[in-house]
């Protein structure tokens, strides 16, 4: 998966607990993205980053925060997990961030919030 590693691959947690998902890339791409994928909704953008310490919100950012302290790492945090955040989370990367540029995706993290 183009040098993208997501961890953990699976996580089960309880409502109200904090959760952090990690995305690590070895491609030195500038842009990194977090998406969630739910049945019937397609992939929806949560947050993205266009450089170290530079992040912006996507279409479904409520309840999520992100951080990027190094080019290769992009963290997604659920401050207080809710059952509606049960989903498959994908990290993606691109070099220029343009809409005509293809995205490379990680293998995903299956998160279950009970």
């Amino acid at each position: 998966d183009a040098g993208i590693t997501q961890s953990p691959r699976h996580k089960v947690t309880e409502t109200g607990t904090p959760v952090t998902l990690r995305c690590h890339q070895t491609e030195n791409h500038r842009y990194m993205y977090w998406y969630r994928q739910d049945p019937g909704h397609g992939l929806r953008l949560i947050h993205y980053s266009y450089g170290v310490k530079d992040t912006d919100k996507g279409e479904v950012s409520d309840g999520y925060s992100v951080s990027r302290s190094k080019t290769e790492d992009f963290l997604l945090t659920l401050e207080s997990a809710t059952s509606s955040q049960t989903s498959v989370y994908f990290c993606a990367i691109s070099d220029q961030g343009a809409a005509n540029e293809k995205l490379f995706f990680g293998s995903g993290t299956q998160l279950s919030v009970l």
Binding site: G40, H41, L45, N100, G108
Partner: protein
Amino acid sequence: SQKIEQNSEALNIQEGKTATLTCNYTNYSPAYLQWYRQDPGRGPVFLLLIRENEKEKRKERLKVTFDTTLKQSLFHITASQPADSATYLCAPEGVVDTGRRALTFGSGTRLQVQP
């Protein structure tokens, strides 16, 4: 609001036939449209990109058309094989809440090719 429609029902075809998947979009004027393949338990993988001034794009057994008047893209796989069985995602360029132009994704159509 922007909306992407892909057939949520699985498409079942026989090996060797041509599979045609449809992507319709509303309230969009994408300059680009991409198609991705997704296998179970894996992330999407890029297949093809087509620009608004291109009517058709081909790559090996794959062909994509882009009709900006109909607001539709068709994705064809000729001489289909069981290994083509996967979910295919349409991704037109759209506008996200921040006003930035970015890819937006449909929920995909699952293709099952029977041997």
